[in-house]
């Protein structure tokens, strides 16, 4: 019996920009896929690579890291570090046997409600095509 695949996407959203943009998508009553569960952090630089990998190892089908546009980081340079970590993480994710595209980094500002919706919906479609996290079939941690 095959159940319809409902992706489980973890979204790390920074408090000042992307979380606010996500709120704006809601206030504007835009349609955003519910497959993404938001986790608020103060800055995208808080997103520890171990958190991302743990998410995948626990079965997340996709992980989105969203922060402020370059130059706009509330903490000056945090998002630059997030970008660097993302570049390395993509390789590690591949090394785990997952598609690198299951990890995504996006810049969403507080006024970009529509953009947030577009990013999440597009990511959701992509993950649906990729199918569930292959680790979901293995024993859980």
């Amino acid at each position: 019996m095959t159940e319809k695949f409902e992706p489980r996407i973890v979204g790390f959203l920074c408090n000042w920009c992307s979380y606010a943009g996500a709120d704006l998508a809601g206030t504007s009553k835009l349609k955003v896929s519910s497959s993404l569960t938001p986790i608020r952090v103060m800055c995208s630089s808080r997103v520890d690579p171990v958190l991302v990998l743990t998410a995948f190892l626990r079965g997340a089908d996709g992980v989105l890291i969203a922060g402020c546009h370059p130059g706009d980081c509330h903490y000056d340079e945090g998002n630059y570090y997030a970008r660097r970590r993302f570049a390395v993480l993509k390789k590690v994710v591949e090394g785990l046997g997952l598609e690198a595209d299951r990890l995504r980094l996006s810049w969403v500002s507080a006024s970009e409600g529509q953009r947030f919706a577009d990013v999440v919906n597009e990511f959701n479609e992509k993950i649906k095509k990729m199918g569930p996290n292959p680790m979901n079939k293995k024993s859980s941690l």
Partner: protein, 430 residues
């Protein structure tokens, strides 16, 4: 015996970026602030910009945390839809009379769900969006407005024009709409006053040679800001009236400068910012800037200019520009640097009008007991001593109400006025 009162509360007039900065600083040092704002929301002109130069930072993201902080600050008494009508007294002891118009929506009950808009049968041009989109008679000026509470435009609301319409009230689940609210007269006692009422833009009726209002696709700077804005009338799409995408855009600087007699200091920079706007939406667009002198002082501004130029913008030194319709396109006739008369055609024109004082600036000056200069801006007492101190001790002027300037300088002045207030003891005269 001197029993002169020394009130430590402060009145700030205008909740734009300068007023917000001053209010937050004063609150931080324990002062109570009465922040009077003419419109229904905070943010002034800055929230109309999608991005600001020179690092193209998202303007609303920059200001929203400050607006939120302001709304939640217990020391700050925000009075929207309010205007100062009378000021008596002196530094340390001012008595201020304020007219506060009714919003007809309860600010505590309303949770900002916007359910009241849809049923309203009245459609009007939205001034915040420069008339490029519509709003209802019950409305918030823009998406993401703070406070996120609508107001009723009684001049156009059917209920207030005597008709039997309660559509918004019926749609509200929180009993937030109250037609019975009344305008208020509020009296305040404050020790000092900061005037941060901002600016207006030159009325383009007085410069008919640019074709504004007559020729389609001739826009003002503010209109382009709203077209580009992601929360604006076109969600950021830059299109001609015909719905097509412009292939060529001309930005004309110094519009109105001949009449106003001064350089508005920010237009060259924001015109370059417009390059970024246009190129990011329409990568192949051809941009030409028609300017007289390139005024881009500041340590990072020339680099910004050079970056924009690399994208292929044509910089054309031009005098006596005239805009006319030429078939489907727009022609710009002008005299170039050598005096030779020539003409270019484009799909769209953006005009950068001079920054001018608000129309009621001189009335407010009379109420406050301060002076205006030859151009109508509030005047400082002695520019060699301080730019924020007026001839009336205890009344300080900041931001564009004092003269055209960029955000950085406005914020500096706000901080300076706060410094002046906090350093004064017992109403000591400046």
């Amino acid at each position: 015996m001197n029993d002169k009162k020394n009130n430590s509360d402060i009145l700030v007039i205008g909740a734009g970026i300068s007023g917000i900065e001053a209010s937050l600083m004063l609150s931080k040092s324990g002062r109570k602030v009465h922040l009077v704002e003419k419109t229904s929301i905070t943010g002034g002109s800055v929230i109309k910009f999608e991005e600001v130069f020179s690092n193209m930072e998202c303007s609303t993201c920059m200001v929203a945390p400050l607006q939120q902080e302001l709304l939640q600050d217990k020391n700050i008494n925000l009075l929207t839809l309010a205007e100062v009508k009378d000021v008596k007294g002196s530094f340390g002891d001012f008595k201020v009379k304020i007219n506060k118009k009714a919003r007809y929506v309860d600010m505590v009950n309303c949770i900002g769900c916007n359910a009241c808009f849809e049923p309203c049968p009245v459609n009007l041009k939205n001034d915040f969006e420069e008339g490029l989109s519509e709003r209802k008679a019950i409305y918030v000026p823009c998406s993401g407005a703070l406070p996120n509470v609508p107001m009723i435009d009684t001049e156009n609301c059917l209920h207030f024009k005597g008709k039997d319409c309660k559509a918004c009230q019926e749609a509200c689940m929180f009993e937030a709409i109250d037609f019975g609210q009344k305008d208020e007269q509020i009296e305040l006692n404050v020790g000092a006053i900061i005037v941060s009422t901002g600016f207006s833009t030159f009325d383009l009726k007085n410069t008919p040679q640019y074709g504004y209002g007559k020729i389609d696709d001739v826009y003002t700077a503010f209109e382009l800001e709203r077209l580009y804005a992601s929360n604006g009338p076109t969600e950021g799409k830059i299109l001609l009236k015909s719905g097509k995408t412009p292939k060529s855009v001309a930005i004309i600087h110094c519009v109105g400068r001949d009449k106003t007699g001064y350089c508005s200091s920010v237009c060259c920079m924001y015109s370059l910012k417009f390059n970024h706007y246009l190129k990011s939406k329409i990568p192949e667009v051809d941009i030409s800037e028609f300017y007289t002198d390139l005024v881009i002082p500041g340590k990072s501004h020339q680099k910004f200019y050079e970056k924009m130029r690399e994208k292929g913008t044509k910089m054309i030194r031009a005098k006596d520009a005239e805009v006319t319709k030429q078939g489907q396109k727009i022609a710009i006739k002008y005299a170039d640097g050598s005096g030779k008369k020539t003409s270019n055609t484009v799909d769209m024109v953006v005009l950068t009008p001079s920054i001018v004082p608000k129309t009621d600036a001189s009335d407010l000056a009379k109420i406050l007991g301060i002076t205006v200069d030859d151009y109508g801006f509030f005047k400082e007492k002695d520019k060699n001593v301080s730019s924020v101190v007026t001839t009336k001790p205890g009344v300080f002027i900041v931001g564009c109400s004092h003269g055209p300037k960029n955000i950085q300088s406005s914020v500096s002045q706000a901080s300076a006025a706060v410094g002046k207030i906090l350093s004064s003891k017992e109403g000591r005269l400046e």
